[in-house]
């Protein structure tokens, strides 16, 4: 299997870049690309102290797999892909997502990483609640999902 997808409780096990890169290594692959998503300390003019991630895990993992398979359709079956998304509370600097791509040449790896993160942001059932330094919290406004059928084409609103 050359695709690994996972929703992981960050309180039990932090996301691990070494694990991600190890998965996408292969003798036929001369390139590896890594995308990291992390909690930043400011959003929309407000000071953020942490983010809680809520995930509908079974459908999220299925969407990750579909997106990775689409990437393989675009950039070849040799593409190895690793996706792990965090669930639970993370402080500023905490890793919320790791995407790793391994491929024979660099162009496919870079493009696949970009494709996978953009599609996840538009299509996967994940929500973040920002916690601010003033004690307030808010759910981040996101992309409305399309119904089944439309969604498989990667369309999104919002």
């Amino acid at each position: 299997m050359n695709i690994h997808v996972e929703v992981r409780d960050v309180l039990q096990s932090p996301l691990d870049t070494v694990e991600a890169l190890a998965f996408v290594e292969a003798p036929e692959n001369g390139a590896g690309a890594l995308f990291l998503g992390a909690v930043r300390n400011r959003n929309q003019g407000r000071d953020v102290k942490g983010v809680s991630y809520d995930v509908f895990a079974p459908l999220a993992e299925q969407s990750f797999t579909e997106i990775c398979e689409e990437a393989q359709g675009k950039w070849g079956p040799d593409l190895r892909l690793y996706v792990v998304h965090g669930k639970g509370h993370l402080p500023v600097g905490g890793l919320s997502i790791i995407i790793a791509a391994g491929s024979p040449h660099r162009d496919e790896a870079f493009r696949a990483c970009r494709y996978v993160i953009e599609e996840i942001k538009n299509r996967s059932p994940v929500w973040k609640q920002e916690h601010y330094t003033d004690g307030d919290s808010e759910w981040v406004q996101g992309h409305a999902l399309c119904q089944h059928g439309d969604q498989s084409h990667g369309h999104a609103h919002g």
Partner: protein
Amino acid sequence: MSEIIVQLFGAFRPIGSQMVLQVPADANVQAVRTAFAAKLPEDLHALLAVSRFADEHKVLAEDTAIGDNSVFAILPPVSGG
């Protein structure tokens, strides 16, 4: 009538982790939406309008019959990554 469970995510979380509804046995997703809306606080109706129902495998079209499925999820606009 059939008893179904709607799991709540994201901005629906403040009202709980799930909602139990009674719907006709031959209901479709639109009927689930109507039953869900009837128990939803007024300030969440705008969010419901841009949210989709799903099962563990796919986002469901409004005319999908619920069949033997008894567990659904309501998915507000997503913000992962």
